[in-house]
């Protein structure tokens, strides 16, 4: 967006402030600024407390015995204990917690690998190679972002079922290796468009083909986009519920969300302590990624909106 353009319905005349007006404005601004500052901080702190309360409550409740959880507004545990975690880690149906964890990990890492390779390659084609049909395909790709997934899951399930691939990880990973996630392709395309073409051209003059340009020039430059994508891909795969619900049947293949649901099904209804503990454990990697990589996450999201 060019900074010098003006919206059609902005005030008709722009006056340049006079020196006195500026000084006056500044004085007013300063005295208001203290008041504003206080209001700002109070508002944001209150908001933060309200927003983060559920997450903190979940964490604290995992350390409390169940009877202390349900109606208890106060966060601090009276008799903090690790009993809930012991129960959650005990596994369900003869399958250990670590099996579920590993399954989720395999799926998530697989997703990251698949997406990094397939989406970067596709993005390169869209952003850097001119070939007939490119624009049409690009529009189609964006279209898939707006397409409700319901219309493809049934035939996909039928095919995987007939091929005997239900109850394996294949249906959950195949799409990742075939760039079926338009969000990441789009992200990478936007990023690449901002990279200067001089490097490409210099390399081309040196006789490099597309493969070389992609591998030696683009990929290294794309690291921020790749990192953002990887983190999102990991987290989305980790939290995915519908896919595993559909395709993972035997308990020893369950990913954490499915295992969590089975755990809730099987624990006595009032054993919230154990449920909270398991919920917390299931979210640990996501929280870790968030704390370490928040900058990448937030900026990845922010850049989306910039080109509209």
């Amino acid at each position: 967006m060019s900074p010098t353009s003006v919206p059609a319905n902005a005030p008709a005349k722009l006056h340049r402030p006079t020196v006195e007006q500026s000084a006056g404005l500044r004085r007013q601004a300063r005295s208001r600024s203290l008041g504003r500052s206080i209001v700002f901080h109070v508002a944001t702190v209150v908001l933060t407390v309200v927003i983060l309360y559920p997450a903190v409550w979940m964490l604290m409740s995992a350390f409390k015995p169940t009877h202390d959880i349900v109606g208890n507004v106060s966060l601090v545990p009276h008799d903090a204990s690790l009993a809930n975690f012991a129960k959650a880690l005990g596994g369900i149906g003869g399958v250990s917690f670590w099996t579920f964890f590993t399954n989720s990990l395999v799926l998530a890492v697989g997703s990251v690998v698949g997406i990094t390779i397939s989406c970067s390659v596709s993005a390169y084609a869209f952003a850097r190679i001119d070939f007939p049909g490119r624009n049409v395909f690009f529009v189609l790709m964006i279209g898939t972002l707006l397409l409700p997934f319901h219309v493809v899951i049934i035939p996909q399930y039928i095919v995987f079922n007939r091929l005997g691939l239900v109850d394996t990880f294949v249906p959950l990973l195949l799409g990742k290796f075939l760039a079926a996630e338009a969000f990441f392709v789009f992200l990478m395309v936007q990023f690449m468009r901002n990279l200067p073409r001089e490097l490409d051209e210099a390399a081309r003059i040196d006789g490099a083909g597309h493969v070389r340009i992609f591998a030696s020039i683009m990929l290294p430059l794309m690291k921020p986009a790749l990192v953002s994508s990887s983190i999102f891909a990991f987290i989305w795969s980790w939290n995915d519920f519908f896919g595993p619900l559909l395709y993972l049947k035997k308990p020893d293949l369950y990913s954490l969300p499915i295992a969590l649901r089975m755990f809730v099904d099987q624990t006595s209804v009032s054993d919230y302590g154990a449920q909270m503990a398991m919920a917390v454990l299931a979210l640990v990697p996501v929280m870790l990624f968030f704390f370490v990589f928040q900058r990448y996450l937030v900026e990845g999201v922010a850049t989306q909106g910039l080109k509209g």
């Binding site: 149906g93 091929l163 239900v166 049947k249």
Partner: protein
């Protein structure tokens, strides 16, 4: 450019549909079986429905089995009744049903009809599953079109349970044996009018809204002399019958005299009766064990159900069965586990009558029925019922499980007062027509 893509997509679609059309016969990979010799380590998946009490008992039985068969590991999993069947349905589609599963006659036709269940016949014949101490008629209840797709574990019949402590608090008396449905309704209204709270401050009720359970409706039909299902698997009743039944408790619902549905759902998988807020509940007689464990009471009473014009017209049915998924990789091990659960006397002692009265006479003998115990009460009840004469059980039609579940969810809506009995009947029949087809 675009055209090759379009044709490719069309080709992919055609391939998908072709695969879909290739009928559904079991390309079950498991039929090659475990030829790997008797002692190769094997893991069997085993599922059941039930509460914590049943889970405990199963875990005991599983431990016992694993001791006796060190090379077999049992991976047990359980859900509540409704979730159990949705889980099995998705497994069936993916041909990954458990190696051994607790089964209900309501779903037998559907699963057997789609070839999901292993034929246990060869194992019965060879004696791997030893049914020598079984009643032949009962074994037949698990056989469809001459294929033994499942074997009953036990039998049960309907009963009325009363919580004397809760009742005593209200000062109302339960009607004497031989009471009718109208008597029951009057009792419920009386308890509600008494307006007595429990120690925790929740109001005590006489009963939940019992019209919401499909089997009670069927029992009521049988009492009126109507066979619920025709010989060719259709429904032998109509919307009016349903509406008449639902209206039995219409006044109670209108007066809010039945246990509030919101609280009942919030307590799930427990219920009003098992948290000691409801004085009576109808259910299968074998539920006494589970109810006693959940409620913490050892003095729950088991009584006859309300009587119709010709008495209670109880029937005995297989309370549950054991089956094996046709896709199993370990049929021999599965058969061994099934045989263990069906015939081992220790298992009889572990479960008592909690799953029903055991079908195997050896297990029946092993049930520790000392005076005053839950098992003694159930056995005594069944003797009482047998003494007053029973009728043949209705055989569940195809899709029974689905229509039973639909009845229950519509029953919830009725309790929430979001639909009328007429709408209930209409919507239920619409589903039933599709399910029973």
């Amino acid at each position: 450019m675009k055209r090759p893509v379009l044709s490719a997509a069309a080709a992919a679609a055609a391939l998908t549909l072709g695969l879909a059309a290739c009928g559904g016969s079991s390309d079950a990979p498991g039929t090659t079986g475990s030829a790997a010799g008797d002692d190769a380590p094997v893991t069997l998946t085993f599922t059941w429905w039930g509460n914590d009490d049943r889970a405990e008992r199963y875990n005991q039985a599983i431990d016992l089995f694993e001791e006796q068969n060190p090379h077999i590991t049992i991976q047990g999993q359980f859900q509540d009744f409704s979730n159990y069947w949705t889980a099995r349905a998705t497994e069936a589609a993916g041909r990954s049903l458990p190696d051994v599963m607790q089964f209900d006659s309501a779903y037998l036709r559907e699963y057997a009809g789609n070839s999901h269940l292993l034929d246990l016949g060869p194992y019965v014949e060879s004696g791997a599953i030893d049914l020598a101490n079984f009643d032949e008629g009962l074994v037949a209840a698990g056989s469809l079109n001459d294929v033994q797709v499942a074997i009953p574990t036990s039998t049960n019949t309907l009963a009325m349970f009363v919580n004397p402590d809760v009742l005593a608090a209200t000062g109302v008396e339960f009607p004497d044996d031989g009471y009718t449905w109208e008597d029951l309704n009057r009792f419920v209204q009386d308890v509600s009018d008494a307006d007595v709270p429990t120690d925790d401050g929740y109001k005590i009720y006489g009963s939940g809204d019992y019209v919401a359970t499909f089997w009670f409706f069927l029992q009521h039909l049988v009492q009126q002399g109507t066979e619920p299902f025709t010989d060719d698997g259709g429904l032998n009743f109509d919307e009016d019958d349903v509406v008449d039944w639902l209206n039995l408790t219409a006044d109670l619902r209108a007066a809010d005299a039945v246990y509030p549905i919101a609280r009942a759902l919030a307590l799930a998988p427990l219920g009003g009766f098992t948290v000691n807020e409801v004085a009576s509940e109808q259910s299968w007689d074998n539920f006494l064990a589970g109810y006693s464990a959940d409620s913490g009471k050892d003095n729950l009473e088991i009584r006859p159900i309300p009587a119709g014009p010709d008495g209670t017209s109880n029937f005995f049915r297989p309370s549950m069965l054991l089956a094996s998924g046709a896709n199993t990789d370990h049929p021999e091990a599965a058969a061994r586990f099934i045989d263990f659960l069906l015939t081992d006397p220790e298992v009889g002692a572990i479960f008592g009558t909690s799953k029903g009265v055991p079908a195997d006479s050896g297990q029946r003998a092993a049930v520790d029925a000392e005076d005053g115990s839950v098992d003694a009460a159930v056995i005594a009840y069944e003797e009482l019922v047998a003494g007053t004469g029973t009728v043949a059980p209705p055989i569940p039609v195809k899709g029974f499980g689905t229509i039973e579940a639909t009845w229950k969810s519509l029953g919830e809506e009725l309790s929430y007062k979001t639909i009328t009995p007429e709408q209930f009947a209409q919507q239920w029949f619409a589903e039933a027509e599709l399910a029973v087809r």
